[in-house]
Symmetry: C2
Subunit: 417 residues, 2 copies
């Protein structure tokens, strides 16, 4: 099955928003084994929209539309498709009720034009919208299938995933169960990960293995298609075992885990608390932890000592130590971690010092970072030499610090990455 | 002039990356008054690429390609265009030298396939790549113009802006000078801003006025096209005066300013220092300031007191005060700001406390935030009632705190927004 994704909306052509929907849909269609050969973006213009539909019909047997299902006159996706396919629109009572309820919940008066949103292509399967008003549609002709989805990602994404995707899988006569499982790695590059798994990636079929990368993290998404959930997990676990045999030391979590959420989870499990003394990251480390709901159970807080004076006054670091070894040094990172651990009375503490850039810090070039991790068993320090811009370096330092803490909490001590 | 943007790259169709280039180019083309009617994405496949070129030629007189200029066999954009247009590729010596120099700087050995990157369409104007290796091209036929740009945004964006855009403006027989100036607002919604400026927006021609919004900030981009820089500034300043007469109280900066960079700039000008005591934001406020290079001149650091105990122990807040008013209260925000100002000896200090969500904090619902700002003239507190998710609320609280500090530094005291 070959697919084309058509986004409808002049705001995309004016550069006001990015077509993130195309990426989302493409990655899910890849999972289903559907080839996506084209993305098209067209404005809110019936003539041009009909032209692109015609072109798409010559090269795709699944056409997915996003956008243009709203209440205004500019929203003309379903009207244009109905005319093009020689069918009509009819009121869908269930969708109408859901729109009425939506306005009631919001305590707002429903204007007449909102009813238009409940009109659907006659003969289509309606896709419920649980995060907005306009319903989606799946419409089949003998030659091909058309899926209409709303434009806002927060409505489109769950509608595709939970309403359209299972129907598509059935349409493909595919397995009833499609199960994805994400393995999350840190401290290994995408190229090296792919290199170590090359033969697995080459012969992947079920589950498929998709490498993904962002912000220094690498993920593998395993997707199995089969007839039962049990069987799907069997297939996934088999592949997972092979993968972890080779690169298991870089794994830090699964699915929706993040380095921060995994850290919080481990601390909670072990009833441990954490604090930090931050210099170059200036609060970013603690802020990343606090981004996880429930962080307050384990994060006490800490000190941001952005200049030398505050490292002395607020953390009690000896001026002689700073003079002898420098602010960006193993000794300072260790002293910061130990000082804040004492001061805040936590089980674990982190000290972060470095030259974020663009300038060097004394004789330490931009990108040099020292991370100290203090526990009741002692303190270990790690040196990083990063090569990004200032804020990339700051974020990398935070993520690497989190990965070291995860190792410390799981192995007893961190392994150098 | 009507344009179509064609992105070439299978990774886009697999959903591995988003086509952010199309958005960037569209917003710049809109400034030039060029209509963008279509975006197309196609994979690394010569046959399908030639098909989409043919379709684009029927509906556009400017076709901009991104991607497929690199050294590998998959990169086939210029080869396909050359064949399609019946021209050839030739080695561009300047580009070749720049590639050789690139490898020398990186201390890496240049493999033979990298030379391919210096091949350009015969008869094209070469667009220099100052952030990577592959040069871009502008190629004109009698009917239309073709622009070829590299795929990575960090190479494509400056190349378009500084190499291609001026050439395009000349091609359009447009003014020699195109000048943009961005006005940055905080504390006013996009809808309200547009409402107050509706008549100006309706009759805008030169400069054009484009409203943009992101992360609670609203911007207006004024773009004048004329024959001299002086005249362009005259046109812009005239419109700017009219705009600021109506909404000047929400303006915080211009062009590349951010709330954090403006705060740092004002503090430096006034030789003042800043510290913060953070609870719900847990370091995010200070981290935003530290994201600005040179922040260390004014930011001393501060305390993250994430739980009640640390507010008492580390900041010396009276337990009775917390008991009487609660952690999320005007009194606590004020006490936090004053305590950290004393402790770190700074001119200005901020206290941030609140319920980020998803849970309420005692009787304070999620989204309630108190911001205290302490100066030598006394302390003021501001209450926010935010309605976003946990981390949106945390970021909004930080941005509003920055906007209050900017007001305090410019007006002597913050105005409630």
């Amino acid at each position: 099955m070959n697919a084309e994704i058509i986004a409808v909306g002049s705001e995309l052509l004016l550069g006001q928003i990015t077509n993130s929907n195309a990426r989302f849909l493409s990655s899910h269609l890849a999972e289903l084994g559907i080839n996506v050969y084209y993305h098209t973006v067209v404005g809110d213009n019936a003539g041009r929209l009909e032209d692109v539909i015609q072109i798409a019909e010559e090269r795709a047997d699944l056409i997915i539309f996003t956008g243009g299902l709203g209440p205004t006159k500019d929203d003309l996706t379903k009207e244009t498709i109905a005319r093009h396919l020689g069918t009509t629109l009819e009121m869908n009572e269930e969708a109408l009720e859901s729109i009425v309820a939506f306005f009631e919940r919001a305590g707002r008066v429903m204007t007449e034009n909102n009813k238009k949103q409940a009109l659907v292509l006659k003969g289509s399967e309606v896709l419920a919208n649980h995060h907005g008003m306009a319903p989606g549609m799946l419409y089949k002709t003998e030659e091909r299938a058309y899926i209409l989805l709303p434009g806002p990602p927060k409505e489109m994404e769950p509608m595709f995933q939970f309403e359209a995707k299972p129907k598509l899988a059935r349409l493909l006569n595919q397995a009833d169960v499609i199960l994805s499982h994400v393995l999350r790695f840190y401290g290994i590059g995408e190229a090296e990960l792919e290199d170590r798994l090359q033969d697995l990636l080459d012969r992947q079929t079920n589950p498929t293995i998709a490498p993904l990368a962002s912000d220094g993290e690498v993920m593998l998404r395993l997707t199995a298609k089969t007839n039962s959930e049990e069987q799907a997990w069997e297939l996934i676990n088999e592949a997972k075992t092979e993968i972890l045999d080779r690169v298991g030391q870089y794994l830090y979590g699964y699915d929706n885990d993040s380095l921060a959420s995994k850290t919080i989870e481990l601390l909670k499990e072990q009833s441990k608390t954490i604090s930090a003394a931050e210099s170059l990251t200036a609060g970013l480390f603690q802020s990343e932890l606090a981004a996880v709901a429930g962080a307050s159970a384990v994060l006490t807080g800490g000190v941001i000592a952005y200049n030398e004076e505050m490292k002395i006054e607020q953390l009690g670091i000896a001026p002689e130590l700073l003079k002898e070894y420098g602010v960006v040094s193993e000794e300072t990172a260790i002293a910061m971690a130990e000082a804040v651990r004492r001061k805040f009375g936590t089980d674990i503490a982190v000290g972060l010092t470095g030259a974020a850039g663009p300038d060097a810090h004394g004789d330490q070039p931009a990108g040099t970072v020292w991370i100290g991790i203090a526990t009741e068993d002692g303190t270990t320090a790690y040196r990083l030499q990063l090569s990004g811009m200032r804020n990339t370096n700051r974020l990398r330092a935070v993520k690497l610090a989190l990965s070291y803490i995860i190792r410390t909490l799981t192995d007893g001590n961190a392994r150098k990455i």
